[in-house]
């Protein structure tokens, strides 16, 4: 097995399928995680993994040997995820803010308002996060995932998604607003200082 990605790419370009297999084994898990965050669906994420490496294989000749293979595949995976999300608009029926607010409040009431410390790390909160993520529109989710989980700058996200900077910002703002509405009842700690300060005057 080639020691480095660069060596594996060079061999794979010459038709060495075992070398390409090494690249798949090194990077497919990371691609799956990204694709799952982007699509919110394991089956779709697997499709993205397949499509990503298929495209990578076909475009190996275009890959610049000085570049980082992982970064290159990552970009392909982002595009494949976006393509897949766009191809399945019926899954993107985003809940509106009122739905989320109502849902969050109802869930919090059902939970009997246990301590936030316990809830923060609970499976229930993870479930809430997962639900809230699926309630985002395709662009909101893509922009949010790339900013929040992938640490990409708004400029980078704009280029990846083909959006103007302002459009990217607003996608992220809307996503964060929806996540807050869904999660705040679970994670917002009662803050006596804040309550007294709120009485001083609204922001």
């Amino acid at each position: 097995m080639p020691q480095t990605d660069a060596a594996a790419v060079a061999l794979a370009r010459d038709g060495d399928s075992e070398a390409f297999r090494a690249l798949v084994e090194r990077h497919s898990r990371a691609v799956f995680r990204l694709a799952h965050r982007m699509t919110g669906n394991p089956s779709d994420a697997e499709d993205v993994v397949q499509e990503t490496f298929l495209k990578a294989y076909r475009q190996l000749s275009r890959f610049e040997s000085r570049a980082n293979f992982g970064t290159w595949v990552h970009r392909i995976a982002v595009n494949c995820s976006i393509d897949l999300i766009r191809a399945r608009p019926h899954r993107e029926a985003a809940h509106d803010s009122a739905d989320l607010e109502q849902f969050g409040a109802a869930e919090a009431a059902e939970a009997g308002r246990p301590s936030p410390e316990r809830l923060v790390l609970s499976a229930e909160v993870q479930e809430r996060i997962s639900s809230a993520m699926t309630a985002l529109s395709q662009m909101e989710r893509a922009a949010f995932v790339l900013r929040h989980f992938e640490g990409q700058s708004i400029e980078e996200i704009s280029r990846a998604l083909g959006l103007k900077t302002n459009a990217t910002k607003h996608s992220i703002f809307r996503a964060v607003k929806k996540m807050r509405q869904a999660l705040e009842p679970f994670v917002a700690q009662p803050d006596p200082d804040a309550e007294s300060l709120a009485a001083d005057g609204a922001r």
Binding site: L183, Q189, D191, D193, A194, R203
Partner: protein, 260 residues
């Protein structure tokens, strides 16, 4: 006065992600230090976004994930531009050719044994060949679905607490994957969307089974079961297999119709 203007939600978000414009950052940071309501609001935002950091949104794929990915990927890496020789030598055309030979030879001897009849036209022969081809394919796909169903049922009902020998399931899955790929491609070529989608789902599961280690862990098996059950795969296989049996009967009924 600018110094007293509260930060908006959007500005707080930009600040959290370090995306505030360099010229605006000193004002945002300074205001947060001085303004308790904005600080409280920012703390709420931090808690929400921080909880998303702490929770892993992405699920971790199974230990055999890489093997499964490769098993699905490898056949597609070199788009096989199959020549006519390799196509002719593949199982389905060979079966079709054998059936046609049997039909022609049978018809020849039957013709000699009975009174002479007018020679069939090219259209009639073509229709007969097409009819036989469809019957053979339906029969083969029906049998394949039955075999797949049995394999899936065994996987779902296998009892394992820790680890178990998967070698039998693996080799059977490998064989079924090879057959399945051929039938799926045929279904795609003939535009049978329902069948090709079902065969695609079956292929994913079987590929995963074929890629598991010989001594499978209970987690491997649980992953396979989850995939089978989450997609109601067994139910779908039963439905489509039943439809195929009906389709196999249909040509016989149509043929019998005009005579009555």
């Amino acid at each position: 006065m600018m110094a007293t203007r509260h930060l908006t939600d959007d500005e707080l978000i930009l600040h959290y992600y370090g995306e505030t414009a360099p010229d605006d950052e000193p004002r945002a940071a300074g205001h947060l230090q001085q303004c308790a309501p904005c600080r409280a609001e920012y703390a709420k935002l931090q808690r929400v976004l921080g909880s998303i950091d702490e929770s892993s949104v992405a699920i971790e794929p199974s230990p055999s994930f890489e093997r499964t990915v490769w098993a699905r990927l490898e056949p597609n890496l070199k788009p096989v531009r199959r020549g006519w020789v390799s196509w002719v030598l593949s199982p389905a055309p060979m079966a079709l050719a054998a059936a046609v030979v049997v039909l022609v030879v049978g018809a020849f001897f039957a013709g000699r044994a009975t009174s002479p009849t007018p020679a069939p036209t090219a259209a009639v022969v073509s229709a007969a060949v097409e009819h036989i081809r469809e019957r053979i394919l339906l029969s083969e796909v029906g049998e394949h679905l039955d075999r797949s169903q049995m394999a899936l049922v065994e996987l779902v009902s296998t009892d394992s607490d820790t680890s178990f020998d998967m070698s039998g399931e693996r080799s059977r899955a490998e064989q079924l994957v090879a057959d399945n790929r051929l039938y799926r491609q045929t279904a795609e070529e003939t535009g049978d969307v329902t069948l090709s989608e079902l065969l695609d789902e079956i292929e994913r599961v079987l590929t995963e089974v074929a890629a598991t280690p010989e001594t499978g862990s209970s987690r491997d098996l649980a992953d396979v079961r989850r995939r089978i059950e989450s997609r109601d795969l067994l139910f779908k296989v039963r439905i489509v297999a039943s439809e195929i049996r009906e389709r196999q009967k249909a040509p016989i009924q149509r043929q019998a119709g005009p005579r009555s």
